[in-house]
């Protein structure tokens, strides 16, 4: 408890010593310098590029479009609110005239804004990644434990691992359309297509790394388990899985970054809702602000990808027993 308090104390800037201040400042100086240099290069370089849609946007135009996108989102939210208010008034009036009247409640169908698309993409990538993890980790453990299963499954893995998402997409689309037929679907088809494509492309790194991690349990620990006559399940839970955790997380982080990249491509190609569709729509739109808006999307895609990786890194730090291993 006191250790926690001490840590909290050290975390507050009021308690930092001179050296800590210097370290913090130095620590943030170079990243800030790098970013500043990048912005300058971008501004200067952008002015040299003339496209059919005008000069390539610099950072300022991009910031402007970002605030436009925020405004549009707010306007769309207000429109939705107004729509529901009107509908409620209208239906209330109808019911007052005639209590048996058939009133209809409709959902607001506005254009999805940039932020709606972000939410869709995030939800899709997390679902696809979760499904991939649920398949890859158990399968990876089984493959890693048994040489014969490994030899049987390995050729399939090696063949499917390098397949591009664009190649999977038509197949997944057709199969989902044929198989997923329901009058009241819980998920939209486009969601399922994007998600399954993400799963198919992103499960391989986790699968391979888990199986390698499981297969590389220290010989001495295997001997200890034999002397103790650990049962199969105890052996897997207490010895095998902890041994494999560092490699498992390496795989998970690779998988998540692949999942995010694949999703954007899949959304662009299949015109499924999400950030990919946003980029494609702007590209087709071809207005003077399109390039800046695509730049906003590119930056947001990058930032989200970075945040996803950081989140997983935090989970890794928390779960991993080997605190001495520097995870970056």
């Amino acid at each position: 408890m006191s250790a926690v308090l001490l840590k909290l104390k050290q975390a507050s800037p009021a308690e930092w010593s001179g050296e800590q201040w210097r370290n913090r400042l130095l620590g943030s100086f170079f990243p800030a310098l790098g970013l500043a240099l990048f912005l300058v290069l971008w501004q200067v370089g952008a002015q040299q590029v003339d496209t059919s849609l005008g000069t390539f946007p610099g950072p300022l135009e991009v910031v402007e479009q970002w605030s436009n996108l925020v405004d549009e989102h707010q306007q769309e939210a207000e429109r939705a609110e107004a729509f529901y208010e009107r509908q409620e008034e209208r239906n209330a009036a109808l019911l007052q005239e005639n209590p048996d009247a058939q009133v209809r409640w409709r959902e607001f169908r506005g254009r999805p804004t940039f932020f709606d698309q972000i939410a869709t993409s995030l939800w899709t990538v997390l679902s696809g990644f979760l499904l991939a993890t649920l398949i890859a980790i158990p399968l990876g453990i089984v493959i890693g434990l048994n040489k014969h299963v490994y030899n049987a499954i390995n050729p399939v893995i090696q063949i499917f691992k390098p397949v591009s998402p664009l190649a999977w997409l038509p197949l997944v689309t057709l199969v989902v359309s044929a198989v997923y037929v329901s009058d009241d679907p819980a998920f939209s088809r486009s969601f399922l297509v994007s998600m399954i494509t993400v799963t198919l492309c992103s499960l391989w790194p986790t699968l391979i790394n888990t199986s390698v991690g499981v297969g590389s349990v220290n010989q001495d620990l295997k001997n200890v388990s034999k002397v103790l006559r650990l049962g199969w399940l105890t052996y897997v839970i207490k010895v095998v899985i902890p041994s494999a955790i560092p490699l498992m997380f390496t795989g998970l982080r690779l998988s998540l970054s692949i999942a995010w990249m694949v999703l954007i491509a899949a959304e662009m190609l299949a015109q499924n809702p999400g950030l990919g569709k946003f980029v494609w729509d702007e590209f087709q739109n071809g207005s003077s602000s399109s390039l800046s808006r695509i730049c906003v999307a590119v930056l947001v895609i990058g930032v989200i990808g970075f945040l996803l990786d950081r989140t997983l890194l935090l989970v890794q730090r928390w779960v991993n027993w080997d605190k001495s291993s520097v995870a970056r």
Partner: protein, 285 residues
């Protein structure tokens, strides 16, 4: 019957290699009495560890066999607990949890939760690890890890305690300290101990008998020396004890005169053995 607690009869071990079978051990005959402390000493690569692994059941003898209380040993088990050379603690568990894993496995259904807890703490206290028992292996020193390894083995209440160069990786002071601990524990519990070592002083100080192995291939027992010294033994008094020095002298003479290692030949054997061992490990895996 007392002398026939653990018996090796004509035990031999051959490892398959691409160039044909490699005979590591041949005709090993040894009887160990209950409560006896036996050291096995020999040059590196002579098959000491193979003997221990045979008794542990990690390797199965390809000829002859091992009997414990008249029963054949053919798989590993907690009644023949092993202290491994490099401690082999699970790095993701605290010292307490490492011992707990063993205790839960061995005394499942025999001890209550509170009894198990007491037993774990008792064994950690035996190796003076009470203060650090909730630390993880990467937070404690090499000597402390080895102590926990010993506590884990003792907690299984083994009929035979097998130690594979338990102090080999420790510095001289820590080693001396742990040797004293092991002597005390042995005096307390009177369990049967077999220890592999390459340290002549260690063998003479701790053992009732020293088994000296000839060089491989086809290594076997060369001589067995009885160490007739009263216990408890004090390492400082022993330094001037003629009997103790005689024992050391005998072992040294065996190792450096009778079984002098011919380096070239030994190196060749060693690579052959390493090959077969890694193959063996893969098979076990």
């Amino acid at each position: 019957m007392k002398d026939k607690h653990l018996v090796l009869t004509q035990a031999g071990m051959e490892f398959p290699t691409p160039k044909g079978a490699f005979c590591a051990l041949k005709n090993v005959d040894l009887s160990i009495a209950k409560g006896e402390f036996v050291s096995i000493i020999g040059h590196s690569g002579c098959g000491k560890s193979t003997v221990l692994n045979m008794i542990a059941g990690l390797h199965k003898a390809t000829s002859g066999g091992v009997l414990l209380n008249g029963r054949e040993v053919n798989e590993p088990g907690p009644e023949r607990a092993v202290v491994f050379q490099n401690h082999s603690l699970l790095p993701w568990m605290s010292c307490y949890q490492n011992v707990e894993l063993a205790v839960k496995q061995v005394f499942k259904g025999q001890k209550s939760r509170a009894e198990m807890r007491q037993w774990i703490e008792h064994n950690l206290a035996l190796v003076q690890m009470t203060d650090a028992m909730h630390k993880r292996p990467d937070e404690i020193s090499g000597g402390m890890k080895q102590r926990v390894g010993i506590a884990r083995a003792l907690a299984m209440e083994p009929q035979v305690l097998l130690m594979d160069e338990p102090f080999g990786a420790l510095d001289a002071l820590t080693r001396a300290h742990l040797q004293d601990s092991v002597m005390e524990i042995h005096a307390d519990l009177k369990n049967t101990v077999i220890m592999i070592t390459h340290d002549v002083d260690e063998a003479a100080l701790l053992s009732d008998r020293i088994v000296m192995m000839t060089n491989g291939p086809e290594a076997t027992i060369g001589e067995i020396l009885k160490v007739d010294l009263p216990r408890p033994r004090d390492r400082i008094q022993m330094a001037d004890n003629p009997q103790y020095n005689h024992c050391r002298h005998e072992v040294l003479r065996f190792l450096y005169e009778k079984q002098r290692k011919v380096e070239g030949l030994a190196a060749a054997n060693k690579t052959g053995l390493a090959e077969t061992q890694s193959r063996q490990e893969k098979e076990l895996a």
